[in-house]
């Protein structure tokens, strides 16, 4: 195709986008909303997936021992815990090491917890118990909570509840986000189709002249397809900006709450990935919808 023909086709598409005015704006905003919901759901799901995938390596149970327990008793409990099926590793964090951890946390968060202790160390010794697989943690935690077997254990804390909540949230985001995204995709398709139908009506004379002077069918269709592609790609890019902004704001908010479960989470997808993914989704949506519209309205 000649350069001048490509320029002409783009000019024709731009002219018709301007001519459709409000309808073009409606198509663009619907595509943006649909892709923002789609992209947002996908982003959230991906982050949850990253988190869940990271769990087998970092999931652990914190076992707090009685403060009266002598060091020999600690070593005995550590030996017994190692023998529980499903335990892969056990590491002892002494009360002195725990205090040092607390000092470090004070330094990072700017708090004054250690200073408030006035030189005392009320912290117990702790065993960090690693399990072979996340699904083994309930049985390991139950075994550790057996008072008759482990009288020296004061308290057992695992992140099971948090993990289960997150997994439930993941399912909710996937189901609701997926359903809303599919519905919005369909709605977007209908809006783009209606816009292109208006374009066909507005360009009735041009199309008649094009046919009469022997323009190739592909040449007649191309401005309409370009118009659909414009709605898709422009909507995708705006949606990517919205998702990126929302993601950065939410990570800033979540970052304020440092929880053990959030530590070790891999970095979020980059800006380029989000833009490329949503622009490509918009492109696909634009092409599919406009090709279907052209087949329907330009017989």
């Amino acid at each position: 195709m000649r350069w001048s023909s490509a320029v002409f086709l783009c000019e024709e598409a731009a002219k018709s986008i301007r001519r459709n005015g409000l309808m073009s704006l409606a198509a663009l905003s619907t595509v943006t909303i649909a892709l923002a919901v789609f992209g947002g759901s996908l982003f959230g799901l991906y982050r949850l997936h990253q988190f869940v995938a990271a769990q087998p390596t970092q999931f652990q149970i914190a076992v707090f021992l009685s403060v009266e327990l002598p060091r020999s008793g600690v070593a005995e409990i550590e030996r017994q815990v190692r023998g529980i099926p499903g335990v892969s590793d056990v590491s002892l964090v002494t009360k002195e090491a725990a205090l040092a951890e607390l000092c470090e946390q004070d330094r990072q968060r700017g708090t004054q917890v250690v200073a408030a202790l006035a030189g005392a160390n009320p912290l117990p010794d702790r065993l960090d118990v690693h399990v072979t697989a996340p699904e083994r943690s309930p049985e390991v935690a139950t075994a550790l909570k057996d008072r008759r077997r482990f009288p020296g254990i004061e308290c057992v804390r695992d992140e099971r509840d948090v993990l289960e909540t997150l997994l439930a949230t993941s399912r909710l985001v996937r189901n609701v986000g997926g359903t809303v995204a599919i519905l919005l995709f369909l709605a977007t398709g209908v809006v783009i189709q209606n816009t292109l139908r208006l374009t066909v009506l507005a360009r009735k004379n041009e199309i008649a002249v094009m046919r009469l002077v022997g323009a190739a069918p592909s040449f007649i269709r191309m401005p309409l397809i370009l118009e659909g592609v414009f709605y898709g790609v422009a909507g995708g890019i705006i949606a990517a900006a919205v998702v990126q902004f929302a993601a950065s704001q939410s990570s800033r908010y979540i970052g304020k709450f440092q929880t053990p479960i959030a530590q070790g989470l891999p970095p979020a997808p980059g800006v380029g990935t989000v833009f490329a993914l949503l622009a490509a989704s918009g492109l696909a949506l634009g092409i599919v919808t406009s090709v279907l519209s052209v087949r329907r309205f330009l017989k």
């Binding site: 023909s5 008649a208 009469l212 002077v213 022997g214």
Partner: protein, 232 residues
Amino acid sequence: MIELQDVTVAFNGERAALRQVSVAIGRGEFVYIVGPTGAGKSTLLRLLYCDAKPTSGSVVVDGQRLGEMRAADIPRLRRRMGVVFQDFGLLPDRNVYENVAFALRVIGAGRRRIRRNVPDVLELVGLIHRPDAFPRELSGGEQQRVAIARALVNDPPLLLADEPTGNLDPDTSLGIGDVLDRVNDLGTTVVVATHDKHMVDTIRKRVIEIGNGRIVRDEPEGAYDGRAPVSG
């Protein structure tokens, strides 16, 4: 240039618009198709630019047998002919130059060809002085000249005109007739379906009369109502 052999056209089982029509039009001829409304004049032209298909018989235009033509080949055939209608069909948001250039741009012609052909054809139809005018600023006759220029800008060997003077007063119609005659003098085959008695009787050419879908008269340098004394 054009050859119809026993052509019948019937739409959806209705009464045939054309019945057993056989006619030949040579390269470089100027032919009027006359007859009452509904006689089949427009159907005959529609057959020639592939907007209708023959129910039976054969239609050959510029060496191409149209009945057997694939839909994908129709655009190529249409580039070899220009078509003009009663309602001009100009694009209101484009000026004269752009309306004419549009016909070349949509078939992928280059800028050099557009810059060369458009002024030439505007000169031919007498509108070289108004390239920037929009259709609303032109008279009916001038609009029809733009439509003719657009039909001719691709140098087609055949020009089909369906009631080109239907919306015009007698003097303006004659001006359009003169333009068509000039086009024909340059070698283009011209076929005009018309009710314009004044034009047919003044610019004498071959006349084919159609009545009830059949050819009822075919005479060289004929008049609108049959043999009449040649004026002048």
